[in-house]
Symmetry: C3
Subunit: 251 residues, 3 copies
């Protein structure tokens, strides 16, 4: 891209996603979306279908343009930024790099498209417009209230400290009966643990499992200065049930 657009400023959001994990990529983009510089172009590639007939898209939103495969990777961030405006399919082959095969669209198709857009080149130079409503949706689940009032939740992300972000916001937990400063029962597979809802990591007593509002506004399971993921065997996608006072889980 710097060969095509020499003055470009590039931010490496991450190169550390688990291979082939479209959902992890989509959630990473959502976490980054509100902090993107205005007018930036976001190149995103998690593309296990590379070289097949899945589409490659450029999706203009109000504050940013996303470039990537149409496999759900872009959809949640696009939604967060107000939805898709113009969308084009990157079919104009004269905008692609010559390549020995179809196995690295990130480099050969998405990167030159990104450089083109970063130079304020028109979106429609890159291919034909497609219906924004035709984008493959993202697969990010909401918490499910169970009979009895408990919340069926899911770990969305384990950060480098081992904190486990849930797909549950503080309002969800409060609506289900949770309260700041109070414990909530947490079912982790076979185990049930009490987790106090605190404000900071350092509020946790040694070895005390806590819930806190993390830096993206979602509840996370955490230990102070230790990895909750390692301690409780949690990973992205793990199921967790939150059982606030006064609620029950189905037998």
């Amino acid at each position: 891209m710097l060969g095509l657009a020499p003055g470009l400023t590039i931010i490496d959001l991450t190169h550390d996603l688990p291979p082939h994990d479209v959902r992890a990529g989509a959630l990473t983009l959502v976490r980054a979306a509100q902090y993107l510089p205005d007018g930036c172009v976001v190149l995103a590639v998690v593309d296990p279908g590379v070289g097949t007939d899945r589409r490659l898209l450029a999706v203009a939103c109000e504050r940013a343009t996303f470039v990537g495969p149409d496999n759900g990777l872009l959809a949640p961030a696009v939604a967060l930024l107000g939805g898709a405006g113009t969308v084009v399919s990157l079919t104009r082959q004269d905008q692609h790099l010559p390549a020995p095969g179809p196995t690295f669209a990130g480099r050969d198709i998405l990167a030159p498209a990104t450089a083109h857009l970063a130079l304020d080149g028109p979106l429609t130079d890159l291919g034909d417009p497609v219906d924004p409503a035709s984008l493959v949706p993202g697969l990010v689940g909401l918490p499910t209230p169970l009979e009895g009032g408990a919340l069926q939740a899911e770990v969305w992300w384990v950060d480098r400290f081992g904190n486990c972000q849930l797909n549950v916001g503080p309002d969800d937990l409060a609506a289900a009966g949770g309260a700041r400063g109070e414990p909530v029962e947490v079912r982790l597979g076979d185990r049930a643990k009490a987790a106090r809802w605190v404000d900071t990591y350092a509020s946790a007593r040694p070895s005390e499992l806590v819930l806190l509002v993390d830096s993206y506004g979602l509840l996370a399971l955490a230990l102070d200065r230790r990895s909750a993921a390692a301690e409780y065997g949690l990973h992205a996608g793990s199921n967790v049930v939150l059982v606030p006072p006064g609620t029950t889980v189905p037998a």
Copy 2:
């Protein structure tokens, strides 16, 4: 380097090479070479002989200048870019940073030389010209046809997905009797596996070992959404024999 040349644009090609692995560094430079922005300066350091009498060089090629130790690291990329023009040995000590010892030439000698060249400083400010023919050659082997027509090949690189790049191009395999869409027998140590030559990762059936032209134009052994390296115990340097239909391997 930004202290010496404040406006510099720096691309971090990688900091993740296996320690002391000159060949892995050389192959990484070869993969990057054709994508380098015109006129750039490439600082490369894999330098187990740091502080000994191995030379440090700046090698001007047509599209880029390479700065690094003369231990084979630079040679393949220099060859790919058309060979060495002027070469100097970085002997001018007034161009080096003061240092507590000779253990980090990358920082104390190569980095200031790179900054100097990035500011369009003359190559000959850095030291005395040396004969381009005197560069230590790179150690990257070609595939060897065996008696019976099979190809003795080698894994050059395992990417982060576990795909295993071989030192074999599609023309080599076609010349030996392989054909797109057809299986080739692959000998991996004691095991023999059939690997179909396909175009995309997603063309592989679940658990089917395939060969495909990777993004650098070489054949790679791959599984769909899984690591072929982990499954078959392959790593950079592993020997592999390709036995196309109609060929044999010596007993």
Copy 3:
């Protein structure tokens, strides 16, 4: 930060510190300090007390300004650069980003402060001045001479090659009786090994443990092309006793 200060040049010193390890962060800053471009702003975050009443500071030194938590992280680098000039506590909330909670001060308080300073904004816009003498000191220990003349030392850092940097300079070892080219007895837990003081990694014979002046001017325990840390079970914080010729350790 690029959203707030679009022209900014950002250097990623590291994102690979062990979680919560303030001392590793402090030592990393010390190693980097003398190579910082003049006038730069250094954002440093290892902040296990995030959200508690520990202070967040901007510390102006002669050649750089440091922004980070007041937990000892900044102190050694500040001292190396001549000590703190003006120091402010980052209490001005209108300079903070809106945030869902207090769990990521690095992003919400330190990053906008850094961008402000990088744009030459006044330090005093960020909060109230505090006494430079009130900074929490850094916890980096000096080597201790033992009865009998040996040196009680400590591993400060294991680099990616497995070389083990000690908190001992060549002058310390020479004063205790060590000499270049000569062996020094090294006590590693239960084991005693002779380590020759050499100038380069390549001077070590196969499997020979050596001491050499590393690229930061401190002595390091090393093996040639292998990891001394892995071989001897050393890590940051490990205790090591150096017993030069003519010295003894207490029984």
